[in-house]
Amino acid sequence: MPQVKIIAKNFMDMVASLPAMKLDKLYDNAFICEAILRSLPPLAKKYVLQMLYIDEPVLATSIHEWVLADGESKHTVAVDRLVQLRVFIETVDRKKGTTYRLNTKFQINLQKHIVHGGVLPREPMPSTITVRLPSLEDLEAYAAEQWECFLLHLISSGQAERTTNFSSSMMKIFQRGLLSQRDKEAPKLTESGFQFLLMDTNAQLWYIIREYITNSEERGVDTADLISFLLELSFHVTGEAYNMNTLTDIQRNVIKDLADLGLVKLQQGRKESWFIPTKLATNLSISLSDLSSRKQGFVVVETNFRVYAYSSSKLLCEILRLFSRVEYQLPNLIVAAITKESLYNAFENGIMAEQASIDSLLYIITFLQQNAHPRVAERIPSVPENVTDQIRLWESDMNRVEMTPASLFDEFPSRDVFEAACDFAREYGGVLWEDSKKMRLVVKAEILGQIREFLRR
């Protein structure tokens, strides 16, 4: 049963999947080289640095000597990644064996960077212009608010106070996969949508940006250009204002969309307009696992299954409502209770396929853990064990019966045909049940076609 799952895929996975031609073109931009280098696994970074001033191809065996025996798997991962991103160009020679050398453009760009130090993508607003710029805290609050507004809009467009700039078709694209809508019914969250809401901001941002990029062709924007612009944006200094005139027309359109997501703040000056990147934008090139970007938590879960969330956010209330019963809401506090019914509701809500997903459950628990209030975050475990255990138990209660679409075959003409059919189905791993006395066979629905074909022969 194929199941669409949201994997918070890295920006770089997307870059790696670009065709070689486009990838080589991307490396013309020094910022991309820098971002790519930073996204690599630690060992791969080391190899690049070590090879930076080596112009000759290096034998794979000599690279292998750099690592200890323990690092074998890491070494393979690192080299595969480098080859995949075309940072290493692989040459296989029958006599000498495999050799690697750095991508020339990549190498030259990095050499320049190392000698001259980093360069800023564009000049910030000169200090001679007296415009009040928002403080870093204001900017962060702005970004959070903007992002929350976008999310609210995404899950239930009625709830949002402001409308976003995104066209409804764009919104539809974002909602695809997250919401499912049957005729004349209110749209419902799918399982992926459910998981999406419980992810942390960075992961959510990735998902949206990924959708944004994959659909860029339809809007007449080149994917490679968009990727390079987004990566370049992440090298701007947070809180500095940059002139909009330095952007191309396409980039100016893109930046308006990004402002809706809270990645940049637009500011109208007297003559010119400026854009100010927020932390969300500068975090774009950071890998997802980075802890430094984590926000302070606000959720306290008690052993009596009560959830206290110190927040006034509507979005958070919506999220809590997904898996708990919101009891009352005070100006700065949301009180909710996790009950069996509320969880069943969550599982049913999030379930598209016939099986309740263990992932949704994990997402709920990680959500509670990641957003734990600082007071309880110090405690281990931050969510009481009896609560997590009970959630697991309830979940397994749901899963006592597993359903698989199947087909039943009976009235076989002879035992030979029956056995041949059984063997055939077994080969495909599709036998669910067989009764050799009465010659009946149940197979998974997936291989129905093949087995029909087989029996016809």
Binding site: L43, D70, D290
Partner: protein, 293 residues
């Protein structure tokens, strides 16, 4: 006092403290090193750039070690440290530092090359690291790199050993890269005790390659990399009375202070020693005899 437990994460984010030896006598003297100070700085700046390139959360702090003083010359996390003016700001601070160092010099204090204030800069680096440890639960993993050339100053023995043990306690490795012709017993011990790398490059022209190959590796990847192993460590200590480096000597049985000659009482803790036998070949013999009498 509880030891500070740095949180180990799988991330390769590092805080690199670079101690640069700016001893003018070492750099100007002939035959001490095969590389000019300007060339050396060019290699170091390229190295700093490459460390900062590897991860945007990496931080680099440079401390200059003079003969009379030491000071922070560069901090990549400081406000206004723009990436395109890294070399300029470093050089400007370095010039100011050298001038200050010269003013502090006493007229007739130095004969020969003299030693740099390694103990001072090590302590400064450790103080900085402690501050980072206390800043919050998610901090970069610190390490210290000594780019050192001047000969050891035996008078700094106690201070340096204390710094080494403090680094060991807070799990901060001290890497050393020797620029001079001689090995340094202090730094050999420092790297050995703290689990850092000690290296004396053969070809100083290719200093950058040495730095990027060996010293740019973050603590996480060091678990998987082949790094230079210590060939031999000079474990000799300096005596507390005359600051001489000695192979054999007297040790206070109470506080473990080291002396090159017999004393009546310990200058550190004040314990009174027994009568030395004039023909006693070593302290160990004498100690063994005491309980029997």
């Amino acid at each position: 006092m509880t030891p500070v437990q740095p949180k180990l994460s799988t991330d390769d984010v590092s805080l690199l403290m670079v101690l640069i030896d700016t001893n003018p006598f070492f750099w100007s003297a002939e035959n001490t090193t095969s590389i000019l100070f300007s060339k050396f700085l060019a290699h170091v700046v390229a190295f700093l750039n490459s460390v900062l390139l590897l991860n945007q959360l990496n931080q680099v702090v440079v401390i200059a070690t003079g003969i009379n003083t030491c000071d922070y010359v560069y901090d990549s996390a400081a406000a206004g440290a723009l990436p395109n003016q890294r070399a300029e700001s470093l050089l400007q601070k370095l010039v100011e530092f050298v001038v200050k160092d010269e003013q502090l010099a006493k007229e007739d204090s130095v004969d020969g090359i003299g030693s740099s204030l390694l103990s001072g800069s090590l302590s400064m680096a450790l103080c900085y690291i402690q501050r980072v440890f206390r800043s919050g639960p998610h901090h970069p993993q610190p390490r210290i790199l000594c780019l050192h050339g001047s000969p050891d100053g035996p008078e700094q023995y106690v201070a340096i050993m204390n710094a080494i043990f403090s680094a060991q306690r807070s799990m901060v490795p001290i890497d050393s890269c020797l620029l001079g012709a001689q090995h340094s017993a202090f730094l050999q011990q420092a790297s050995y005790i703290t689990g850092g790398v000690y290296l004396k490059p053969q070809q100083l022209d290719g200093l950058f390659q040495y730095l990027s190959t060996v010293f740019a590796s973050d603590l996480y990847s060091r678990n998987f990399l082949q790094l230079p192993k210590p060939v031999g460590v000079d474990f000799r200590a300096s005596c507390f009375c005359h600051k001489n480096t000695i192979d054999m000597g007297y040790i206070c049985s109470v506080c473990l202070s080291i002396f090159c000659k017999h004393h009546k009482n310990c200058s550190t803790c004040g314990s009174v020693f027994g009568q030395a036998q004039t023909n006693a070949p070593s302290t160990s013999n004498q100690k063994r005899k005491t309980p029997e009498t």
